[in-house]
């Protein structure tokens, strides 16, 4: 089938302002991913088209973008998954709320700044066991934070959040998900510090429970629930 990609283009070296570029492809299969189509445009028609991508199967988190207005990983969206038919147009834009570097590539530094701010690392509650072996954790304790260990830091959630669009100072859903992964780990001892960080004005209370983040997550993490659990933990600690 024939499909047109309508892509938001911007090259700071040559363009005064962003514009829409239309690229039509023949022979598109229902099982093609959006990434495969973008690659065809880049490789067959216009090599200046710029994007990030790596693993191409939804694990590395490189190719988050707005596909028909919603945040998706381009490699994880197939034509038949979004009901594309012959003659249709798919609209592609960079994710919102982060500065555009070129075409679909945005500056991830502000996103990783928020990530680093929530102590996204294990702080052991106890010294290593004297027997030289692993710490003991029950499978039930392990499952409490299983969902948030799946995060790949693609930024689909954070850049779908109207509160983040309104203020880039908000740490955003992804950073809260990362904090959640440690706050609820039975082996960790720094929950209090993380909850204090997230109780600040630019922490969890900027979340207005709009729920954009949950359907945006390509890893099916219940992001809004995780944020809710962190809010509850802060309230309980008060």
């Amino acid at each position: 089938m024939k499909v047109t990609l309508r892509i938001r283009r911007f090259n700071p070296e040559t363009d005064q302002k962003p514009y829409w570029g239309d690229y039509t492809l023949d022979g598109v299969e229902p099982t093609n991913s959006v990434l495969e189509l973008i690659h065809r445009v880049k490789w067959e028609q216009d090599g200046t088209l710029t994007l990030r991508r790596s693993c191409a199967h939804g694990v590395c988190g490189s190719d988050a973008m707005r596909v028909n207005g919603v945040n998706r990983l381009a490699c994880k969206i197939l034509m038949d998954g979004i009901g594309v038919k012959d003659g249709d147009t798919i609209q592609l834009e960079p994710i919102l709320g982060l500065p555009v570097i070129k075409d679909l590539v945005v500056d991830f530094e502000p996103f990783f700044d928020h990530y680093r701010a929530v102590m996204p690392y294990f702080v052991p509650a106890t010294p290593p066991p004297a027997d030289g072996r692993e710490r003991i954790q029950s499978q039930a304790e392990r499952e409490v934070f299983d969902d948030t260990t799946k995060c790949i830091l693609c930024a689909c959630c954070t850049t779908s959040c109207p509160s983040f669009w309104a203020s880039g100072k908000y740490v955003g859903p992804a950073a809260i998900v990362q904090a959640h992964r440690f706050i609820f780990d039975s082996r960790d001892g720094a929950a209090k510090e993380r909850l204090n960080i997230l109780a600040e004005p630019d922490g969890v209370w900027r979340c207005r429970t709009i729920f954009n983040c949950t359907p945006a997550c390509p890893r099916d993490i219940e992001v809004t629930r995780a944020i809710g659990e962190v809010k509850l933990a802060i309230k309980r600690a008060e």
Binding site: N11, P12, E13, T14, T31, K42, W43, E44, D46, G47, T48, T50, L51, R52, R53, S54, C55, A56, H57, G58, V59, C60, G61, S62, K76, L78, G81, I101, K102, V105, F108, F112, R116, P120, Y121, F122, P124, P128, G132, R133, E134, R135, I136, Q137, S138, Q139, R142, F145, D146, T149, K150, I152, L153, F182, D185, R187, D188, D220
Partner: protein, 594 residues
């Protein structure tokens, strides 16, 4: 003039091996990690099933069994002293990861849970043993995240999206690296006393691959251009179960949980090829079996794939037949293999609880690469002459642990064990070492090449070259090989190198985030690595592990129980089998039966 940075130690690549090296080195010396990706995008994150270590948490196990299985899996080309290092240090390395916070799945006692994986056995009963420590089916993701988190905790310095394109040598001493800052397109020089390369593999040489787009053999190509040797490149693993037709990896853990391979006649064909451990034979054996089934017309509906069946009713029928008490439920499949369900549903429209998964072998892992000794020190010849200050670890390195075929889970083990060794070595080395002076204009050579690519105005698009390379390598330097086929591939690759040098076309002539130029540079690296791979495959006239020559179907220990060294001499490649295999554990090469 390029900006110059100075660090005691530089790590190139931010996957598991690179981050482990950086964590260790940064404890005592000024260290920086340079990666062409954001670290969390690295390919370690896609590893699924587990990391091998003889913890013995669920049943008796020992490092000796792990070492023997690794040597046997390697078709006796793996160095036995290296297998010993891997198997002994694996235990401590996995514990270290857990202590760093890695959320492993747990046993009923709350210890690290383990599952079965191909080629890992109880050496007494010969039956599969539970050795793969896992975190659902995203163990690599958890390792990458945990190591990156610890790097943040320890304030390790990162240069994200800096693409290393050259190694600076001053005479025979490494002085630093050259990198393109991708955002600006500007060149940077990183001068360092010690440099570790941990840049991963180059599966993108082949048409069907589990590898990321970014696994392009950058370091192997740089090595050849700098006149340094590579080792055992002809041994490239084809993983048996890539999702048909796109090649995404479906973990061996599916078979570890009881999944079986089924042909068009409904036969569990691995019973014929590996009567004892069947579907859990090592990967080279299973991939060949699948190819033979397909070749003999027993692919599903006559096509190029077979089925991987993990439906509980199928698994339980075979478990009952084998007299095992264990049973698999739909919940087990959902809980233990969540990502696999996601991949098969997204890319093949298949629910593995209800339907078999279509699979085909997929180019997966480089056993060969940059030759190193047990300390991750890079060597320059078969007599193990060390290049002081230069290290390699992880998939890009060839210690050699994996020999002619790697066992599943041993890649993750390799990258933590030898990444750690590289970091420790850099730490020790830098205490008494000084900087090697930078040569005059250290970026000149690579700058000229990048400018040539940026301004290329020929008539051949990179995609045309890339497609031809990937097809010819798949057809002739894949699971089965012949002299005629390999020669054809070599001729084609050389023609494509000529097109690349003389007739390339490029659209993006700018500097900022010029991925058109950098992808083309990567294509050049792939071509050079493909050439060396094909040449090594041509010269090794025997069948061993992943290198299967139809014209030489037997293993030939008399002539080829040695590592392949590929030397780059005055722009020409030369192959010599001059690095002996270490046999110090006393495992005598014998026929491999599974």
């Amino acid at each position: 003039m390029a900006q110059v940075h100075q660090f005691d130690a530089i790590v190139v690549g931010a996957g598991g091996a690179g981050l482990m090296a950086a964590l260790y080195a940064s404890r005592g010396i000024k260290t920086a990690v340079i990666s062409k990706l954001y670290p969390t995008r690295s390919h370690t994150g896609t590893a699924q099933g587990g990391i091998g270590a003889a913890l013995g948490n669920l049943e008796p196990d020992s490092w000796e069994w792990h070492a023997f299985d690794t040597v046997k899996g390697s078709d006796y080309l793996g160095d036995q002293n290296a297998a010993k290092v891997l198997a002994t240090e694996a235990i401590d390395a996995v514990i270290e990861l857990e202590l760093m916070g890695l959320p492993f799945d747990r046993t009923e006692e709350g210890r690290i849970s383990q599952r079965r994986f191909g080629g890992h056995t109880n050496n007494e009963t010969k039956q599969p043993v539970r050795r793969a420590c896992h975190s659902a089916d995203r163990t690599g993701h958890m390792i990458l995240q945990t190591l990156y988190q610890n790097c943040i905790k320890e304030n390790v310095t990162f240069f994200d999206e800096f693409h290393v394109v050259d190694l600076i040598m001053n005479g025979d001493r490494p002085a630093g690296v050259v990198a393109v800052e991708i955002d600006s397109g500007e060149l940077h020089v990183f001068q360092a006393k010690a440099i570790t390369f941990a840049t991963g593999g180059w599966g993108r040489i082949w048409q069907t691959t589990s590898n990321a787009h970014t696994l392009t053999g950058d370091a192997t190509a740089i090595w050849l251009r700098r006149g340094l040797p590579l080792e055992d490149l002809e041994f490239f693993q084809f993983h048996p179960t890539g999702l048909y037709p796109i090649g995404v990896l479906i973990t061996e853990g599916v078979r570890g949980e009881g999944g079986v391979l089924i042909n068009d006649r409904g036969e569990r064909f691995m019973e014929r090829y590996a009567p004892t451990i069947k579907d859990l034979a090592s990967r080279d054996v299973v991939s060949r079996a699948i190819y033979l089934e397909i070749r003999d017309g027993r692919g599903i509906k006559g096509k190029d794939y077979v089925h991987l069946d993990v439906r509980p009713e199928t698994v339980n029928r075979y478990l009952a037949e084998a007299g095992e008490e264990r049973r698999l439920t739909a919940e087990d499949v959902i809980n233990k293999l969540p990502d696999i369900l996601d991949f098969t549903k997204t890319y093949a429209g298949v629910d593995p609880v209800k339907q078999p998964i279509p699979i085909q072998p997929t180019a997966h892992y480089a056993m060969g690469g940059i030759p190193t000794n047990l300390n991750a020190e890079v060597i320059r010849d078969g007599s193990e002459t060390v290049i002081p200050g230069l290290y390699a670890a992880g998939e890009v390195a060839c210690v050699s642990v994996h020999g002619a075929n790697r066992l599943g889970t041993n890649s993750l083990t390799d990258l933590v064990v030898f990444g750690r060794r590289a970091g420790q070595q850099m730490l020790d080395y830098c205490k008494n070492a000084d900087f090697v002076a930078l040569p005059d204009n250290p970026t000149a050579e690579v700058e000229a090449e990048l400018d040539r690519i940026r301004n290329a105005s020929g008539s051949v698009r990179g995609i045309e070259i890339r497609k031809k390379m990937r097809k010819v390598m798949m057809d002739h330097v894949g699971v089965f090989r012949t002299e005629d086929g390999i020669q054809k591939a070599l001729d084609t690759i050389r023609q494509l190198q000529d097109d690349f040098r003389n007739n390339l076309s490029i659209d993006d002539h700018g500097y900022r985030y010029n991925s058109d130029m950098l992808e083309a540079w990567e294509l050049g690296a792939l071509l050079d690595t493909a050439e060396a791979t094909a040449l090594a495959a041509l010269e090794r006239k025997e069948s061993r592990g992943a290198h299967s020559r139809e014209d030489f179907p037997k293993r030939d220990d008399e002539n080829y129980l040695a590592h392949t060294m590929i030397y780059s001499e005055a722009g020409k490649l030369a192959v010599r089998f001059d690095r002996p295999v270490d046999l110090s554990l006393g495992y005598e090469p014998k026929e491999r039966v599974y």
